[in-house]
Symmetry: C2
């Protein structure tokens, strides 16, 4: 396994080696759109008011080592995960139970649920839903075992705005390019090999997913040209990630798309009589488009809803006939509470959605035990574990809310909970820490190269298109279900001073090793 | 013709149209490497010491109108031009006559010739030469005619470091993309059409040319891996232009290349016993490569030779067994004096190189009359024309030297010559001004959009690979000869205040119109 047999990976680089690889990397990345708009700390807006500057996206210099069995596990169970989450999204009654436990503590979940109820009151007019999912994992080596076999443990399951698919294809191609140049020291030749570098087809596959939604929508009801609508944040530094999907949608699938800043939704779209969503591009007032599919790259976090009108905009989109990627129910299916109830030890829920025991047991193996902090039996056990510093050291406390950040780790948990009124504890879940093998890499960010210990997170993309149940077919049906490439995201592990800055991720690719 | 029937092209854009097109353009360009490193006036080196920032290359928003017949003429005569210039490069005796007229006034030409003589003394060991040429034209409408038919007139013929081939493919793809989005106002729909937008295959075709050189070199004589060597300036802001050729060389032709700053030639290359050129990459001291082909993207201008050692480096490369792109004789074939003697009225020279009258007469039509400023009959006539303000207004005075800039236009010629000792006049040629039709466009540079009158220059790329004459075959033979895409370069015409800044070119593409 990586942690034991490749302790000297990646090798130190001489100054000339580093200079060569850095130059190749920074030129290739811009030539191939592996780029981001620079952060304000790097380039102030006043210097570049029209925003034409770009820089290499934060990337790793080397592909990180990843156990081949874990990688293949992750890809092979993605279709089951797609099935699971689409089944959850179709089970309004069950979701209601989840939401009811959260409404008092999570205003965002409450608002999303109210949006669903408001649409339901008028009646949904679109029974097809699209999910571009990403299931995130870390490699886990059980510290209680002396020679542990590495396994995948799920960190979270994203049902909305799963990002980096457009850049992931490029970074795996970058590492392959560097290999083909012989840019990696010869000491790595038994590790970094062409058949070990797994290319990610995420750009093409996610675009294919959007095209599947577009096609499933059918013909225009208003004799307008059809389009997919990317609902985005504005400004968006990670714009090229999204653009690659747009370009692949157009070039590989012939499907037109537009970008609409979420805050301008009500200004530029309207619902006609039968709730067809009509988009009027501001630059072309004479031509309007009928929207087949709404792809949300905004609206996933409370921060995107700054005024009441933003909730009206979400409702407006949700009410429309366009296929939502995702619908509000699918977004709710991705909330951490769902992950928690599935992963609570002895939970009966998984069986509800995946009757096939074999399939369910394969997913179950990827769950890290998760506890609620409520008054259930599991919750009571969790409170004991979380408030005792010695047991808390094996856990992480995560807010149920979406959006990342704000996790409380290990020994910081007891004092954090001490300050928090116990009524608010159910807003958090307690998750057993995943113990990844120690890895090292070098990350380039803003032109600076940092080396040190890193943690890698594997994201497996999945596309699922389904029809909600109704009438005789209460369970609905799955129309498309495929895995859609992968992302490896790598960040500093905080373990070393002067190493890779913690918390800032870089895009990476997998160099598969036998475990 | 463009000048008469499309006077309102391109149309004014509304603020929303302009905003849309600008956003699409700046994102697409970075996603596809239509980029440059920013100028120091935009980003200072201290802000980005490792040089990771990039920006959209200066580009036109619209494809410029170009007469279809002229465009097709330019492409169809490129093979004849390739043949002409390769024949000149093979005719040492004739070139010697040219050079002898220049040695006293042009130190750079003298140095190049001395380099040739030094190699000749030891004997050339490589009889194959490669040219990646670019013939530059403007559309000319004879102002003395009331309804002139547009014709192509040659501005210059580049035999070394013909640039922008890597970006030209991208800008024609950009304009096609903008068309496919409907980003251009509907009023242009009868003009900007898919079959009017000519895509440039320059990246692929120039890479194919380098690969042909690489292949013609044959097998390694030193059992080393083979490579093409890009000899470059350092730093190079236009690096992505060159990188696209490198990537196409590797991906489409499987040929490895390296970049070597010209100033480090002697440090990193050596000649072995039989003058094989061996390149030792500084990052990989254990592996050295045998160079098949030297592609000069530096060394074309006196500015590249700052110290005597730089001339030693050029000689070192020239002596080697590697195929030169171009050889020093081929570089000399491109000097303006050659263009001038070919284009001097009643010149006998063209026939020497192109015995086929039909072919020669087609080229002749693209020559703008060019006069020497010496004591020949044509020279005497020229001096009269150049010193009289009324006739001088139809001419441009150009230094024979390579490198661009420093042209003297029209009425500025007489006072310029008055200050220059007449012995130095032969360093210049007098060329009849080409009178292009008035055109307009919008150029984006450093994030700023400028509209106004523009001048367009069509560059047609050509690849020629030949073997020098020897023994029975005194004339040598042509091994490869093909046209290799095009470049349209557009700059402000100085005619309007507040318009497009004069002198700064942007990459553009051709929207063909019937003349």
């Amino acid at each position: 396994m990586a942690s034991t047999s490749h302790t000297d990976y990646p090798p130190e680089l001489t100054a000339e080696e580093q200079n060569f690889i850095f130059t190749e990397l920074k030129d290739w990345s811009i030539a191939h759109g592996l780029a981001v708009r620079p952060a304000p700390s790097f380039v102030q807006q006043s210097q570049d008011p029209s925003g034409v500057l770009a820089t290499t996206a934060p990337v790793t210099v080397f592909p990180s080592l990843f156990p081949r069995t874990c990688f293949e596990d992750g890809l092979s169970i993605q279709r089951a995960y797609n099935e699971l989450y689409s089944a959850i999204a179709r089970d309004e009654q069950w979701l209601q139970g989840i939401v009811e436990e959260l409404v008092d503590v999570d205003d965002f979940v409450a608002k999303l649920w109210q949006t669903h109820l408001a649409v339901k009151k008028e009646g949904y007019v679109q029974d097809v839903s699209l999910g571009l999912f990403r299931s995130d994992y870390m490699v886990h080596e059980d510290p209680s075992q002396s020679n542990p076999a590495p396994g995948l443990k799920q960190v979270e399951f994203n049902t909305i705005a799963s990002s980096f698919g457009g850049l992931s294809s490029q970074v795996s191609a970058l590492h392959r390019y560097l290999l083909s140049l012989g840019a990696y020291p010869s000491s790595t030749s038994s590790i970094i090999k062409a058949d070990a570098l797994r290319q990610s087809q995420s750009t093409s596959q996610l675009a294919r997913g959007l095209a599947a939604g577009h096609k499933a929508y059918g013909e225009s009801r208003t004799r307008r040209p059809l389009c997919v609508l990317f609902v985005v944040q504005d400004p968006e530094r990670n714009v090229f990630d999204q653009r690659h999907l747009e370009y692949a949608l157009l070039e590989e699938n012939g499907v037109r798309s537009f970008r609409l800043p979420f805050g301008r939704t009500l200004e530029h779209t309207k619902l006609d009589g039968n709730r067809t969503l009509v988009y009027s591009p501001p630059h072309s007032s004479s031509t309007s488009y009928e929207v087949t599919t709404i792809y949300f790259r905004a609206g996933y976090s409370p921060d995107d809803y700054v005024k009441e009108e933003d909730w009206a905009a979400r409702l407006h989109l949700e009410k429309s006939r366009a296929i939502k990627c995702p619908s509000v129910l699918t977004q709710l299916a991705g909330c951490k509470k769902v992950q928690q109830v599935l992963a609570t030890p002895q939970s009966p829920h998984l069986k509800r959605f995946l009757p096939d025991d074999q399939v369910a047991s394969r997913l179950l193996e990827t769950f890290a035990p998760i506890y609620p902090l409520d008054n259930s039996n599991a919750g009571k056990e969790a409170k004991k574990l979380a408030t005792d510093p010695s047991s808390a050291a094996r856990f992480v406390l995560k807010p149920q809310r979406e959006g990342g950040g704000n996790n409380i780790y290990r020994k910081a948990i007891p004092p954090f909970l001490e300050k928090l009124p116990e009524t608010q504890w159910p807003a958090y879940i307690l998750m057993e820490m995943i113990e990844p093998p120690p890895l090292r890499n070098a990350i380039i960010r803003n032109g600076v190269l940092e080396r040190g210990g890193v943690i890698c997170e594997l994201g497996v993309y999945g596309v699922c298109l389904w029809r909600d149940g109704s009438g005789k077919n209460q369970k609905g049906e799955i129309l498309e279900n495929f895995d859609a490439g992968y992302l490896l995201r790598t960040k500093g592990d905080q373990s070393e001073e002067g190493g890779v800055a913690a918390g800032f991720g870089a895009v990476d690719s997998c160099c598969l090793v036998e475990s």
